[in-house]
Point group: D2
Chain length 291, copies 4
C-alpha cells in the first residue's frame, strides 16, 4: 500500500518503521529532515520535503499537537491541497475534538476522506507494534486503513462513523489515567504520613483491586518518587486535560475531576515540575502534606 507518513517524533518514528517492515511503500515527512533521512537509509522510505509531497492514497499524521497538525494540513504546501480526491487522511495524533471536526469538514469539502485514529501506548509499545488504535470514520475508509492499524497496533477499536468519537475516547482515556494518578498521589501521601511503606502499600493496591498496568506503573513511580526521567512530561498532561475539558465544555459536560487535574498540572508547572513526568502530581500531594 502507498502511505504518506507525517511526523517522526518519539511515537511516529517507530510507527513508520513498522509500516515499512510490513512491506508498505512509505513516504515520510518530518519538519526537521534528519529522522526522515534515517528512515530512508534504514528502511527504504521515500523522503518528502514538504507535507504536500507526502500526499498518498492514505496519509497518516502523527504530530505533537493541534498547531502542528494545522500547519501540516492547512499550511503552505499542505496536505489538504495536495491529497487526491478519495484519498484518506488518517489523523493518529492526540488532538482536540474541535480540530478533528474541522478536519472532517475540510476533507469532505475537498472530496477527500478523514479517519481519526488516535492510539494508546508509549514509545516502547509503538516500537513493538503493540499500540491500541481507536479508529472512527466511514466504514469503507476504515476498511482501507486496516493494514495500517495492524502494522502499528495489537488491537483496533472502532467506536463508529463519527471521527470525533475516536478523539473523545482517546482524550477521556488520558483523563482517566491522570485521575488515577492524582488519586494515588493523595492516597500515597496519606499512607506515607501514616507510617506505611509506600512500596508495600503499592503491593497491596495492585494485589487486590487495582491490578491494571496504570496503577502498577504510575503507582510505582509515585511509591519510589521517581519522576525523572519523564515518560510523558507534566505539561503534556496539562495539554491533554485542557483538550478533555474543552470537549466537555462543548458537549455540556461538567468534569470536576478534570478541572481539578487542570489546576494541579498548572500548579505543578508553577512549582517548577515542568520537566518531570506527569505522575509528579504525586509530588504535589506530598509537598502539600509537608512531606
Amino acid at each position: 500500500m502507498e502511505i504518506g507518513f507525517l511526523g517522526l517524533g518519539n511515537m511516529g518514528l517507530p510507527m513508520a518503521r513498522n509500516l515499512l517492515k510490513a512491506g508498505h511503500a512509505v513516504t515520510v515527512y518530518n519538519r526537521t529532515p534528519a529522522k526522515a533521512e534515517e528512515l530512508h537509509r534504514d528502511g527504504g522510505a521515500r523522503v518528502a520535503r514538504t507535507p504536500a509531497e507526502a500526499a498518498a492514497p492514505v496519509a497518516v499524521t502523527m504530530l505533537a499537537d493541534d498547531a502542528a497538525v494545522e500547519a501540516v494540513v492547512f499550511g503552505e504546501n499542505g496536505l489538504l491541497a495536495a491529497l487526491p480526491k478519495g484519498a484518506i487522511h488518517v489523523s493518529m495524533s492526540t488532538i482536540s475534538v474541535a480540530l478533528s471536526r474541522r478536519l472532517a469538514s475540510a476533507h469532505a469539502a475537498a472530496g477527500q476522506r478523514y479517519v481519526a485514529a488516535p492510539v494508546f501506548g508509549r514509545p516502547d509499545a509503538a516500537a513493538a507494534g503493540k499500540l491500541f488504535v481507536v479508529a472512527a470514520g466511514a466504514a469503507d475508509a476504515l476498511a482501507t486503513c486496516r493494514p495500517v492499524f495492524d502494522a502499528v497496533g495489537q488491537k483496533t477499536f472502532e467506536p463508529g462513523d463519527d471521527p470525533a468519537a475516536a478523539n473523545v475516547v482517546k482524550l477521556s482515556g488520558n483523563f482517566l489515567i491522570a485521575a488515577a494518578i492524582e488519586s494515588m498521589g493523595e492516597a500515597f501521601a496519606l499512607a506515607r504520613k501514616s507510617g506505611i511503606d509506600p512500596r508495600q502499600y503499592l503491593d497491596i493496591l495492585t494485589g487486590t483491586l487495582f491490578g491494571a498496568p496504570v496503577y502498577r506503573n504510575y503507582g510505582g513511580m509515585i511509591a519510589e518518587e521517581r519522576y525523572a526521567p519523564p515518560g510523558f512530561k507534566l505539561p503534556l498532561g496539562l495539554k491533554d486535560v485542557r483538550l478533555v475539558l474543552a470537549a466537555g465544555d462543548a458537549a455540556g459536560v461538567p468534569m470536576p475531576v478534570a478541572s481539578l487535574l487542570h489546576d494541579r498540572f498548572l500548579a505543578g508547572i508553577g512549582r517548577g515540575y515542568g520537566d518531570l513526568d506527569w505522575s509528579a502530581l504525586g509530588k504535589i500531594a506530598a509537598n502539600d502534606s509537608g512531606l
Copy 2:
C-alpha cells in the same frame, strides 16, 4: 481455635460460617439474635446473648460503623471488660483511624491485644472465602490470628505493627474505588453526549488500559445505568469518604479528590439517590450534563 465473632451482617454472617467450616469453635453475637440462631442450627455456633459472652482468646468484630463497634466494645456488657488478659480483639470492620487508635490504647491498657484487619471484597467474596485481608498489629498477635484470616480470605497483607495502618489502607482503597467511579461517571457522560455507545466505550476502556475489576464492574453499572439494586449503598460511600477525609485531616494530608467525592455523595443524597448504589455518582454526572 476458640473464636468469638460479633456482627452477623451481610459480611459477618458468611465470614463466621467460613470459620465454623474451618473447624473453629465459634461463639457468635448479633444485636438481633435471629441470625445467630441460624448459625447455631446450621453450623454449630454457640450463641452469646451479650458481647461479653462472646469473649474468647480471639474475638472478631465485623460491624457496620464506629458507633456499632464502640457499643460492642465499650458499652454495657462490652468486650473490653470481658476479654481475658492476653486475648486479641481483631477488628475487621471498616472504621475510622481514630477509633482504631483508641481501641489499640484501650486494649493495651487492659492487658489485651488488638489487631486491625479490615477486608476488601463484597458479600459474595466473603461467602467464597475470597476476601483480601489487611492485617496490622504486633507480630505475635498476627501469627495467632492467621488461621482466622486464612478461613475468610484468599490473601492477607500485613503492613506493619501499627494497627491504624490497616485502617488507612482499607479507607484509602475505598477512596481509590470511589475516585475511579467518579472519574468514569464524568468520562461516560462525555462519551454519551458525544454519541458513543456506552457499552462499546466500556469495552475499549477495559480492553486497553483499565482491565482491573473495579473498572469492569463499576463501569458496567454506569454504562447500563444499573444503579439498583445497590451492592454498596451511596450513603456508605459517603461514610467511607468521611473517614478517609478525617484520616487525611488528622495526618495533615489535603485530599482534594476525596473532598470532591464527599460533596458528590452528599449531593446524591440531596437529589434522592440515597437508596442507589454508590456508582450512582455516574447518575449525578449524567444529570449535570443534561442526560
Copy 3:
C-alpha cells in the same frame, strides 16, 4: 468629538445615547438596524450600514462576545480595514484577553491605536451614565478617549499601558462576583437547612461584614429564590468564567474557585437553568441539599 459606536444591545444602546447627550457626533452601527434607526430618530445619530461606515477617529465597540467583535473588526467591511491611521479602536465589550492582545497587534500593524475599556455595571447603570470604566492603553490614546469615558461612566480606572490589563481586571472582577454568589449559595443552603430565615440571614450578613452591593443584590435574589427574570443570564456567567480560566491558563495561574464555578454553571445549564439569572448558582446549592 466624532465617534463611531458599534453594538446597540442592552448596554450599548444607553451608552451611545449618553454620548449623543454629551454632544458628540455619533455614527452608530448595529447588526439589526432597528435600534440604530431609533437612535437616529431620537438622538440624531448617523446610521452606518456596515462596520466600515462607522469608522471614525474614535470607534467604540460594545458587543456580546469575542465572535461578534471579530466579525465587526476583521470581517467583511470591517473596522480594521476602514479606520484611518492614528484612529483609536476602544473595545468596551467583555472579551478574552487573547482577543484583546490580537486586536492590539492588528491595530498597531495597521498604524491605528487600540484601547481596552471594559465596564462594570448593569443596563440601569449604563442608562444613568454611572458605569465604572477600566481603561488601558497608551497614555495619549487614553487622554483622547476620556470624554467618551466621562459620558458613560461615573469613574475611570487606568491600570496601565497594556490594553490586556483592563480585560484581566474586568474578567477577574466578574469572577469575584461569581465566587461571592456561589459562596452565598452554599451558605444560604446551610442556613435554610438549619432553620434560619434566609431574609434575616441576609440582614445579618449585610449588616456586619458584607455590606457591599454584590452581597446585598445577589444575596437578596438567593434569599428570595428570585432567579427570574434574569439580570445576567447564567450562560453569560459561564462565558465569563471560561474567559477568566483561559486568561489564568495562559498566564500559568491555577484558579480552583473559577474551575468550580465553570462546572457549576455548566451543571446549571444541564439541569435546565439556562434562562435564569446567574445567581441561580444558589438554586444548584439548594437542590443538592435536598431543598
Copy 4:
C-alpha cells in the same frame, strides 16, 4: 448584673473589661491565672480559681475551641454542675454546631438555660466594644443577656430561639470571609502575572463592586503580601472551615467552596505557613502560579 466570665484570651480579656466598665459585677476565670489577676487589679473583677467558682446568674464563656469549652463546662469543677437552676450559660466562643446542641440539651436537663452568642470582630473591635453579636436562644434568656451584648458589641442580631442557629451564622460568616480571601488570592495572582500593580488592582476592586471591609482588609494584605504578623492564624481558619463543613455534612449540605478551602488551609500548613495569617491563602495561589 452578676456575671461570670470564663476565658481571657485576645478576645475575652477586652470583652470582660468592657463588662466591668459598664458597671457589672464580674467574676473571671482563666486557665492561667495571670490575666485574671490583671483584671482584678485594673478593673475590680473577682477572681475564680475554678470554672465552678465563676458560676453566676449569667455565665459567659469565650474560649478557643470545642475542647476548651467542654473542659470548662463538663470537666472537673465545671460550670454545668455549679450553675444554679435558671442561670444562663452564654456561649460566645466560635464552636461547633454539634457542641452547641449538646450544651443546649445538657443545660436544659440541668434546669439551666443556654444562649449561643458568637461574635464577629477582631481584638481591636472587642476592645472598642464594637463587636457584632449573633445571639440565639429563648426570648426571655436573650432579654436577660442584652446588657451583656450591649457592653461588648455595637449591634446584636437575633436569628431565633434555636441556639445552634447563631453558631451556623457565625461559622458560615467565617466561611464567606475565607471564600472571599481565596477568590482574591486567585484574582491577585492573575493580576500580578498579567503585569498589573496589585495595589492599583485593589483600588479598582474596592472602588467599584467590592467596597466591603473584608475585601479592603484582606485584599490589602494580599496586595502587599503582608501575611505576618498574623491577625488570625491560618490554622484557626482551618479549624473554622472544619466546623462549617461538619455543620454542612450534618445538615446534608454539600459545600464545595468550603471543601476547597479546607484543602488549601491544610496545604498551607503542609507548606509551612502555619504561623501566617489566614490570608496567606493568597501566598498559596501566588506560589502555584510561579510567583
